[in-house]
């Protein structure tokens, strides 16, 4: 059994994330997959606006920053100019599903040969916990303190992976979580498959990861993980949605 140590593509520094935040786990998984596939010299990541805005400070490979929601548009430009590189975006629900939905939808529809890692924590974490498109029905947020109510015009949670899976350009759409070590291992395999798809020119791959935000959810890190398993998966069922 190999030693379990920090991957080389992850810098040896402490992150700014809150205690129990899922971003740290996902940063490590991305770095592990890139190291395992020996892609660190040819990978270009695109960081979002949101809590992960300084992801480039933590990864030890090339990462650029995009305007809010435009990571997939920037990634399209990079990939078209440099098709020999492996290009991925790392975006939250505010970035990918809200302000950047037009870019997300049309990048997927064009079948751009990209990998998109979508971190879904059902809220706007960085700005103070406002309602996001992915907020669950009944979930209290800063802007829906009595819980999201579709009958008050607040809408229903957007199931982006299912929507994108209907597009012909999408090769791989999957929803997973990091709520337990078992799920972390599965998520790692999905990320690996999404990078493999890009190398094989299969088209657009999206991995949606249900991730905890204990600070905004006002739960302990352990209870946040339990809430994903008990509540979030009812709205956002796990598993492979499309594998072309």
């Amino acid at each position: 059994m190999p030693n379990k140590t920090r991957p080389a593509s992850l810098k040896n520094i402490s992150t700014h994330y809150c205690s129990g935040c899922g971003h740290g786990i996902l940063h490590r998984l991305v770095a592990e997959v890139i190291d395992e596939m020996k892609l660190s010299e040819k990978t270009i990541g695109v960081a979002p606006v949101g809590c992960a805005v300084v992801a480039y400070d933590y990864w030890d490979f090339d990462v650029c920053e995009a305007a809010h929601g435009r990571a997939l548009a920037v990634a399209t430009g990079i990939k078209r100019c440099r098709p020999q590189n492996v290009v991925f975006t790392y975006q939250g629900d505010g970035d990918l599903v809200s302000i950047g939905l037009a870019e997300t939808f049309h990048t997927a529809n064009r079948g751009e040969n990209l990998t998109c890692i979508f971190i879904n924590n059902a809220c706007y974490g960085m700005t103070g916990g406002q309602m996001a498109p992915t907020t669950l029905v009944g979930q209290p947020t800063a802007t829906t303190p009595w819980g999201r109510n579709p009958k008050s015009g607040e809408g229903w949670p957007v199931k982006l992976s299912e929507i994108l899976a209907t597009l012909s350009g999408v090769a791989f759409a999957v929803r997973s979580t990091i709520s337990s070590p078992r799920e972390v291992i599965k998520t790692r395999e999905y990320i690996k498959k999404a990078f493999s798809n890009q190398i094989e020119n299969k088209g657009f791959s999206i991995i949606e990861v249900l991730s905890p935000c204990p600070t905004i959810w006002q739960k302990s890190p352990i209870n946040a993980m339990k809430w994903i398993d008990e509540e979030m998966v009812k709205t956002f069922p796990l598993g492979v949605i499309k594998d072309k």
Partner: protein, 74 residues
Amino acid sequence: MTSSFEVNINKDKCKGCQLCIFFCPAKHLKLSSDLNKKGVKYVAKKEASKCSGCGFCFLICPDYCIEIYESENI
């Protein structure tokens, strides 16, 4: 030939989320009684327990505090 596992914990990176303590099947980990540089109670090893090397703590730690090394005992 048997293997033993050494868990290395970087206490000053720990933010005290306790996910590793919750998921460790052997209950090998505990929360310290003192504070680290971040001002939180950090995760520490229990003195008399033996790590089986499953790696659950490494997998779930969001702050890269934990590393596990295997050594072979002949």
